[in-house]
Symmetry: C2
Subunit: 409 residues, 2 copies
């Protein structure tokens, strides 16, 4: 009988950080198709945003010193010389003793140094009464105050969210260079697995669950997913199917067949797919100990346990970390982790990290996490859970009331 030479969770994260490099290929995409893509170059601005002085209020463009000393009891008086229309250049400049109406977002005319809010003024025919003084530059956004010409706007490795695309849009940058979208190939293995469209289950068979759960997580990450079917327990067949699929994709995921059973040849097959080969076989973690991580010719290969719960948890914890790094993403990867207060004791073995399904409830001061216990094969426990609590290797369990990290589903 063969035992695993297991790594701790911390070692595995270090190995991933060390061994997984961003995919080499990049491509140009329109910003309208670039949501969630990862920049492969730095982006510098080509112009100032805004490229004219903008008012932040509805009010009157004035010379600030014309308002000094103005108050409710001692208003200042200015000649109203016109109105600036939204989106238009002012017809004249503002001199001492003059004021011009400007709407929020409108262009502040030359000569004016501030804008007085409409609430603090009163128009009386062509005369403006000003009831409050304003400081120089008050209520004005300066040229380039948002983004300066030649400024570094977005860095290589940044994931493009709504606001990054907005900034590119403001600059008129309609196309960006991003890392190629990763294409993941997936295979379910096991003689007991049948397709979900099987109407009448034979005794001993179960329908494939991992194909759709792993596909869903890839979809959420905007990663393409190629389903390679179900492979029966046969070393030759597994090698044939995986090597063919790997040639077509950027990353391969298998589930099942990674336990120390009599049919344990997945690790040999994965090792044969390419160099440098397997770097993790067995993680000191529950559930999901018999996980295999490998690199075959620069392409990550992930061997997940077959049990739906183990497969999903290991994929959330390690698989998405690998795929994020491989996608070139250097943004905060663990923003989907929250801190929560545990409501029940969780026992754990020292030297082993535990990932516990939890339900979450909002409280006055944060979140409460309640463990959902169940055998690892039970998909129903995942349905009632909102996240996965992490009990680090160093701890022998966590007591009710202690704070824990929860990875959100």
């Amino acid at each position: 009988m063969k035992f695993f030479n297991v790594h701790t969770v911390e070692e595995v994260f270090n190995l991933i950080d060390d061994k997984i490099k961003p995919i080499e290929y990049t491509e140009k995409v329109l910003i309208s198709n670039a949501l969630n893509r990862i920049l492969s170059v730095d982006i510098y601005s080509n112009e100032n945003v805004p490229n004219f002085r903008r008012s932040t209020v509805d009010g009157y463009a004035v010379k600030a010193d014309d308002t000094f000393g103005s108050s409710e009891s001692m208003p200042g008086f200015l000649n109203l010389i016109g109105e600036i229309k939204m989106g238009e250049e002012p017809s004249s400049e503002v001199n001492y003793g003059e004021a011009m109406y400007v709407p929020t977002g409108g262009m502040v005319p030359d000569g004016a140094t501030s804008v007085v809010m409409i609430e603090h003024c009163e128009e009386i025919e062509s005369l403006l009464n000003v009831y409050r003084q304003v400081a120089p530059n008050e209520n004005i956004i300066q040229v380039g105050e948002d983004i300066k010409v030649n400024e570094l706007v977005l860095s290589k490795g940044k994931k493009l969210r709504a606001q990054e695309l907005g900034a590119l849009s403001a600059l008129g940058i309609l196309e960006v260079e991003v890392y190629k979208k990763i294409k993941v190939g997936y295979i379910s293995t096991g003689d007991e697995i049948v397709t979900p469209d099987t109407i009448k289950l034979e005794m001993g068979k179960v329908r494939d669950v991992n194909a759709i759960t792993l596909n869903s997580i890839c979809k959420q990450m905007d990663i393409d997913f190629i389903y390679g079917g179900i492979v029966k327990d046969s070393e030759d067949e597994l090698y044939r199917v995986t090597s063919n699929l790997l040639a077509e994709v950027d990353c391969l995921i298998l589930s099942g067949g990674s336990s120390v059973g009599t049919k344990d040849y997945s690790v040999d097959v994965i090792n044969k797919l390419g160099k440098p080969g397997v770097f993790t076989h067995g993680i000191s973690v529950k559930p999901g100990k018999p996980t295999i991580l490998s690199i075959a010719n620069d392409k990550p290969v992930i061997g997940l346990p077959g049990h739906p719960v183990s497969a999903l948890i290991i994929f959330k914890v390690f698989g998405t970390t690998i795929l994020n790094k491989y996608s070139g993403n250097r943004s905060s990867l663990f923003i989907n982790k929250i801190t929560a207060k545990l409501t029940k004791n969780i026992p754990s073995a020292a030297g082993r990290a535990d990932y516990i399904r939890v339900s979450l409830e909002k409280t006055e001061t944060g979140w409460d996490a309640t463990p959902i216990f169940g055998k690892s094969g039970l998909i129903s426990t995942l349905v009632s859970s909102e996240g996965i609590a992490e009990i680090p290797s160093a701890k022998e369990g966590v007591l009710a009331g202690e704070l824990i990290e929860v990875i959100l589903f």
Copy 2:
């Protein structure tokens, strides 16, 4: 001059809860296309999962009482009568004095009441030495232990994540009834707005930012987005374009034109689109006070401020709440909120809620949130922020060290 009759944030959330109903229409979709869709019916199971007794370990199926008293020094001896293959029905049952090999996930034969782990046994030809006793039902998942036949598996209003689709897959349910996918129509308004493909900006003009930021958030919510273009500041034109677009979509969003300026007719136009009309005009919130919320013939209409930062924040806070409710989603909506410790004082006016852009940093005990201050027009402040901290109406600012809620981008 017209003043807003403003609502507090809390009032607005209550109004949304009261007035927005799930969209009436439903449709059947394949589970392979159902990620992030919202169930419009309860789902009951049509069979047991598993539908046979499964082993949770690699080991030997035995009668539990045959192992009672077995230990390292006093092993029990059983006749090895065969092996169960994965996915196959056992060829015979297990009687007293007998054991049969069963792999993890394999079918436990009739007669057997437990499985002894392989690590606690030793095969010596056709004899099995058992070095540890097992309790009845140990290492076995019972029929229906995961999901029982006729059990309520998923409730109406549940958002379908990876694990819900996995549970449906396990049951062989390949098609589900969900609420219709919402189609949002969007219009930018303002004489200063030009399309992002404008190469040379004229003075006073700015490129449209809201179209792509709001589209991105809708994409993340799996909501379809129809871009209705830019409408110049003209009441007739705005009514013509909005009423035409509203006829084609389930929800209408406008940005710009909602400030109390000389051109403030958006609220009148929105009111004219259908009954019951505007229910919020002005929210006691910074930024985004001049927000308009309305319902026209059962379709929500959202009038956002024109400034990119205000528009994005108001849409994240109120718009996504409306769209979630309208989509039929009854799952925890605020799972994307974390609790963080503020690193700097934030002043705020009592009676007004403030939404402050923050950057987040992971600490030993949770998250630190650092406010990013900047005029509301600055898109660059959004690029460096990971979330929006909420300062409730009741508070006059928050001090450094206090805990705050942060809505994650």
